[in-house]
Amino acid sequence: MSADLRLEIQQIVVSFGSDKTRMMDILIAVQHRYGEVSSRAIELIAAALHAHKVEIEETASFYAFFDRMPRGRNRIRLSKTPVSFMKGAQAVAQAFETALGVGFGETTADGLFTLQWTSDIGLADQEPSALVNGVALSELTPADVPAILAALRTPAPSDALPAYPPGRAEAAALPKSSIRSSLVKAGPLLSNPPSGPAGLLAALALTPDAVIEQITLSKLRGRGGAGFPTGMKWRLTRKSKGSEHYIACNADEGEPGTFKDRLLLTDFPDLVFDGMTIAGYALGGREGLLYLRGEYAYLWDSLQGALSERRRKGLLGPSIGGKSGFDFDIRIQLGAGAYICGEESSLLESLEGKRGSPRDRPPFPTERGYLGQPTAIDNVETLVCAARVLEKGAAWFTSLGTTSSSGTKLMCVSGDCARPGVYETPFGATINELLDEVGATDAQYVQFSGPSGQAVAPKDFGRRIAYEDLATGGSTMIFGPQRDVLATALQFTEFFVDESCGWCAPCRIGTTLLKQAMEKVVAGKATLSDIASTEALADTVVRMSRCGLGQSAPNPILTTMKSFPELYEARLSKAAFEPVLALETALREAMEVQGRASVVEAV
């Protein structure tokens, strides 16, 4: 052990105020300085924080982007989703494997490259996509692979690992790193954005209670999909007693097929920050936290730039907009690869430097959230809506959409269609209308609101996008007639296996059992009774799981069973019973060991 390591880690810990709740930042710094979070590093972090190794290890072992052993200097993470596969991710993967001579999950002998699959990285409209040392590359083809590897082989000026979060220079060095804007159709929300902080200034002219009243009158509901009334959330948070009140912006956009928050943070960051500042004012908060998923680390520089600019203009910091007594600033917390952290109580745990396991409620975050203080957690899109409601008035907002769903929804469209991207769609539109708009003429089905949502068959394409009919976080993946519905359901089920936090038994074990059951179905080995027991298992996982992840993890199976029973039927095994354990295969090894292979032949 070098004395240097001890000193360096101590410095990292001190740079985050020797604060255990900044564990994510500490671990991210260690990961990217040394390329791993080694056991020795964990011991040193524990020592510097007067904590136990086992506590640090709880967090370090939870997130996909922390490595417990050294990996390649360059990390290539290819997005593994049904949409990336339909757009050719497997061919790109093969090109990488051939060029490097290693498979996925492996590291080259020279220690230069590690290949990995990763869950959806928020580029479903531009698949196949990858994160290379944190830089997003999109619309990859096998032909791009040599240039990418050549760029990564160009000797670095120092021995230091690639910078993280990656900056513009790192991105510029890589081909295919210019991500085009996902915005295909702007509606009232995203058209003619104000040139200045119009919504914020309008809010500051009102009392905090009057701001909440405006939001309540607008009937704005949470855009993550659950649809909780935003005005009520803000009022509850403001009313709760606490030494601090926080606004947290949930930018952990992990639902496969969703990429609207990436669009908002890239093209409209000031509207997001206006919304957060308005919320801070309304709640009586002094600090806002933007939880940015680790997959979006490449947005770090531009977001920090936008924050600095706002500080310079007096839109963050003391006495905002000249309003004495309103001091407010925003901190960005980077995540490290965990879908579950989009669940609001998991997000709080992660913000506090812990494993992203959800909390039991009550108490709700509005009473006891970040650091035990009242916290409102809002989706990125919700905060953008809030900023525009204050700018243009509640009546403008309620004039859009339906009675129960005011405003518009940013729909993220991907898969088998001519024009994927973000479509700002008024609530009340039908799926058919959206499909026409995006150029999807022969959809076999639509995976609506992501894998945690539902598989919607053509007979239901007349249903409406609205909280009162089909509520959605925005993910809309279109599957054409050539796609295998059941294999896709299996792939979505695998996603939940990867992303289950493990805390509660029904989700931890149930997701794996569902995956195994679905493998049997896809392989044509499931009998009628297997289908019945799979459905029963899925229902148990829905009813017994602790949080929304487990409660919706069986949806890919349950909703395809409902929408496409004939596909399950067609794949049934003809046998009345297919054993899980193939006796002959199981016995073969033992018989060979005993030299009784002939017995097997005889059987």
Binding site: V54, A338, P362, A505, I509, G510, R546
Partner: protein, 240 residues
């Protein structure tokens, strides 16, 4: 000032509850048994097993972490809930390796006892065969992680009762395991056999060496009475 009291109903039986009690605690006081596994009366509830899930005011919630509130309507002993609880117990059986007939905890095991109480016959789900190594590095205690159900009792007990933080979780999802606070195993931690953490394991993951068969099979807790019987013995009311 006496704490506020009010009543809730569990399966139609009206019971008294006190502000600050969970639904499960209120039911326990009244002698109404709600099956539970991870909950230990001396420790903060972790809510990991979800066995005590009831339908509370029409919604599924774990009784151990749901505060009792005036007029709450709780469904507990219904065929649907029993089936779901049995299914989760079954999941725990196939996740680990639980050979009851020759396990040191047989008859004293809360997982096994719940299997009996909830009517589990044999697991219908495929076994996962974890195959984790046994940690016998400690002179007085061994850890058999294949029998761990990740209830978090020992973690909580070690941190809150023993002040030691010997245990924690490592990994996530199906790969999550019980971890100890030393690279070299339990023997290198501050763990002692008299610790609370050594005495709260509901199964036979944390086993005290040389004590296993002091009470013979057949004379153990759940050999003589069903799990929950001690709670139900307190019941004074009438079933409707």
């Amino acid at each position: 000032m006496a704490p506020q009291t009010f009543s809730i109903t569990v399966d139609g039986i009206e019971i008294a509850a006190t502000a600050g009690q969970s639904v499960l605690e209120a039911a326990d006081s009244a002698g109404v048994y709600i099956p539970r596994l991870c909950r230990h009366p001396d420790l903060q509830p972790s809510g990991t097993c979800r066995i005590c899930t009831c339908t509370i005011n029409g919604r599924r919630s774990a009784a151990c972490v749901t505060p009792a509130a005036q007029g709450m309507v709780v469904e507990n002993n219904t065929p649907g809930l029993t089936a779901d609880r049995r299914a989760v117990i079954e999941m725990l059986f196939v996740e680990g390796n639980h050979p009851c007939p020759y396990c040191v905890a047989s008859g004293d095991c809360e997982l096994q006892a719940l299997g009996y109480r909830l009517g589990m016959v044999a697991p219908q789900q495929p076994y996962q065969w974890p195959g984790q190594p046994i940690d016998a590095t400690h002179p007085d205690i061994y850890l058999d992680r294949d029998r761990c159900i990740l209830c978090a009792r020992c973690i909580e007990a070690s941190r809150m009762e023993d002040g030691k933080s010997v245990f924690g979780f490592i990994g996530r999802g199906i790969a999550m395991q019980l971890n100890v606070d030393a690279e070299g195993g339990l023997g290198e931690t501050q763990m002692a056999a008299i610790d609370k953490a050594a005495r709260v394991c509901p199964v036979a993951c944390i086993v005290i060496k040389r004590e296993g068969y002091e009470i013979p099979n057949g004379a153990r807790r759940y050999d003589t009475a069903e799990i929950g019987a001690e709670i139900e013995a307190r019941f004074k009311g009438r079933t409707p």
